[in-house]
Symmetry: C2
């Protein structure tokens, strides 16, 4: 047995095994500001499941951690490297294997970009609904590994609802196929759902079979503006109570309206407390449905506007899509040192508690004197409080962290969950443990130990392992949940 790198080079084509320091640095982290990340030993770029298997077998033989990565657009640090890890970049497995209109399924490799699958499906008159904000760059593998959501979820559900079957490289390098290609199937344990959202801690996904839907019909869209968050919340409740199932029901708070207007002026009402963006795509009669939805949204609105055509609807939706870049712009311009950063939180609460969440976040932000905006999927109770901090100022980072923890506590207190669609990664490991409770955590650890007894797969993500007598599995102690100002400094 040689070194890890030597052994990888022995089993893989030479261009697959990379150790250039700049490249290692580039592969350290995803888009979760303030989460710690280690330095990988090597980056492997396999082109097939067999190559993934070979790489994992080498890592397993050496007992070194394996960290799979997609496009690293995640917001919880799930793809962050740990020190000494073999990072396996799945970007090279980027083939759409098949799109089958008769069965309404697609078979894709994990490195396929979400938008590319959408476009390929559209060519066959089909749609792949899951639409995370990063859909133009995020890969399906990462979407599946984090069970990514998006604006469509209020009607069409999250990524996991589309995954029928998977091919997965296990911790010992063996290749598992689970799930099915049929519409229905209940044969055995639902391993497919177990791997969905497991963030690379149970296996590395090398092929995905997803169901597709008939082509989406053109959406009709309205926008409504409210002087109070409570009025916007009442409108959301009224839409649900009337039995409507909109294809989009988004909320932007005042902070976001102002950030977007500052970033790209489009005449948004920056004096409003909240804006709702609602769409329905029921086909020929969507206009009638939207009119009914408008009646639910009108009470308390200071303005309500129904888009007259698709171009106008798209313009309204574009404002929502600018929320994240606008807040990034705000963060960078807010601090003269250019080190402003965001912690994008992701809380899902019962639909009826979204006003409590937004108002509670406002109170927390005021108490800690930290800027926090709220945006998200009001229709399904999944909101993103976005915390703005100066990454160069340890005191500011600490305040941001206190705000983050207070928001997490509020979300759980409202009957919610610590993550609606972004996943746990490193960022929310402690909060997940709290949400699960001791029995839930024990079962998580038992499942992890059953599938990855040596603890080499993406260690320290989602859960920590119980310290084994004489020291835990490799890597589990290396990633700190709490952002360490020194670590943040070292990113500069």
């Amino acid at each position: 047995m040689g070194s890890v790198v030597e052994d990888l080079r022995a089993v893989l084509p030479s261009d697959r095994v990379l150790t250039d320091p700049a490249l290692l640095e580039y592969h350290r982290r995803d888009k979760a500001d303030l989460c710690d990340a280690g330095v990988p030993l090597v980056v492997v770029r396999p082109r097939s499941a067999a190559e993934v298997s070979a790489a994992v077998k080498v890592a397993a033989a050496h007992g070194v951690p394996v960290v799979p990565q997609g496009a690293r657009t995640g917001l919880a640090g799930a793809a962050n490297a740990v020190d000494g890890a073999v990072v396996v970049s799945m970007a090279g497995l980027d083939r759409i294997v098949a799109i089958d209109p008769a069965e309404r399924i697609a078979v894709v490799q994990p490195g396929v970009v979400n938008a590319d699958l959408r476009r390929a499906a559209a060519k066959e008159g089909l749609s792949y609904p899951p639409d995370p904000g990063s859909w133009e760059s995020a890969t399906i593998g990462g979407n599946v590994a984090t069970d990514a959501g998006g604006m469509c979820c209020v009607k069409y559900g999250v990524t996991g609802e589309y995954v029928l079957g998977l091919e997965v490289v296990l911790a010992d390098g063996e290749v598992l196929r689970c799930g099915r290609r049929t519409v229905k199937g209940v044969a055995g344990y639902d391993l497919t759902s177990l791997f969905v959202g497991s963030e690379g801690t149970l296996g590395i996904i090398t092929e995905i079979t997803v169901r597709l839907r008939p082509e989406a019909r053109e959406a009709r869209t309205l926008v409504a503006v409210y002087p109070t968050v409570a009025a916007a919340g009442a409108a959301v409740a009224a839409v649900t109570a009337a039995g409507h199932v909109p294809s989009m029901l988004e909320l932007l708070d005042r902070t976001h309206l102002r950030a977007i207007e500052a970033y790209r002026p489009m005449g948004l009402d920056t004096g409003a407390a909240a804006m709702l963006l609602v769409a329905t795509d029921t086909g020929d009669h969507a206009g009638e449905e939207l009119a009914a939805i408008a009646e639910c949204c009108r009470p308390g609105a200071s303005e309500l506007y129904v888009a007259t055509d698709a171009a106008e609807a798209e313009a309204l939706t574009a404002a929502r899509r600018l929320a994240h870049p606008a807040m990034e712009h705000l963060a960078v311009t807010r601090y003269p040192n250019g080190r402003g950063g965001l912690v994008v939180d992701d809380v899902a609460v019962p639909r009826s508690r979204i006003v409590d969440l937004v108002v509670g976040v406002e109170e927390i932000a005021a108490r800690h004197d930290v800027l926090v905006g709220v945006v998200g999927h009001a229709g399904d109770g999944n909101l993103h409080p976005v915390i703005v901090v100066d990454q160069a100022d340890p005191a500011d980072v600490a305040r941001g962290r206190a705000v983050f923890d207070a928001i997490m506590a509020l979300g759980l207190a409202l009957g919610g969950t610590c993550t609606g669609e972004h996943g746990v990664g490193v960022l929310k490991r402690d909060w997940l443990a709290r949400e699960l409770g001791p029995v839930g955590l024990r079962v998580h650890r038992a499942v992890k130990a059953a599938l990855d007894p040596a603890g080499i797969l993406n260690p320290g993500k989602v859960i920590t392992l119980e310290p084994a007598p004489g020291g835990g599995p490799a890597g589990t102690a290396r990633v700190e949940m709490r952002p360490d100002p020194a670590a943040v400094e070292s990113r500069a």
Copy 2:
């Protein structure tokens, strides 16, 4: 430590612990004819999760098997007792805990009958779609444990798609809560989906949170009759290809048409090869959609009839609902000894292969000289070949078994799965192992061992455990997969 029964009586109210031999006999089996079943030691009827937990702790201390039962309407023997088991009947946990219209969720105990939940939801203007054929008697707990389907699935999906969260008593008696009450949530491993469909082998479900939908709109229905199965299959493919999502798309073959007409004459065309029953429930404009679907169904049809109102639609659907009782009637009347029985198979194939399946089943039936009818959910490729045998005749049972095995092999060869909605139980354990392959089976066993290390939960169902050195866990060797004529005899 006393005997198992003494210890159960020590921790539970006396009316919960039953050992009457007639009652033990009554609780031996579900509705899977020809599957072996043992004789339980005791039947426990808990009234709370705490009582389930107490019973499991006693069983665990004694190392005796625990077999949970709902209404025992299953068709794969998953609820069959094993010798010496503690049968835990969940029928007494029958409370609808909450229906929350604002959140569109319901919280129910496992013993709630499917139809009762549907009626309770309807009172709030909501619907609970999953509709297994036994919905008037089957319990939600059993529906969840088997991931039951039904006629709605082609549009609305199977039971698992509605389960948001669970309370589960684990193999050591500890109580786990997993999942959520929010619409969205991706926190940690999807344990909820892991328990759904696990047939009581990983834990005993004591509370279920399901999502509800807005009230279903009135369905518009058509029936089309075909001289060949191929013509019916072409119609199914045309409906799908045109992008329609019917709320029901059922197929009955000639054997079923004749059985229903003999059982309850309603003027069905018993000369036809197949009948399709199609509905759409898109609301005010369902009539337009149904007209478009009718155009897809017309080519090749010898007759096509669109129901003019709800009563007529219900009458058409009633014919489909009579399929199972009609085939039971056929089986009983076919043999003068009154011992005619059914093996209800459950194969899901890719939608485009349903004609291959139906024609293949006809060939298999002819080759073995066994009567087999086919009925089922053509819209999602999930069909039920129903094999008629004389349970008193070992040679006939053997022929039936050969037909069953040939159909399973055909289903897998067509890219299908051995169960679309009925589950594995005892009936399909060998076929599941074949479908999973060695790696899949190994992962199943690892998950089972992680959650039930002593192997006491519903042993011998879904999978067998690997024989441990010095003998396997209690009960795993006691249930024979293959129907044993002697065991069948003992049911008389």
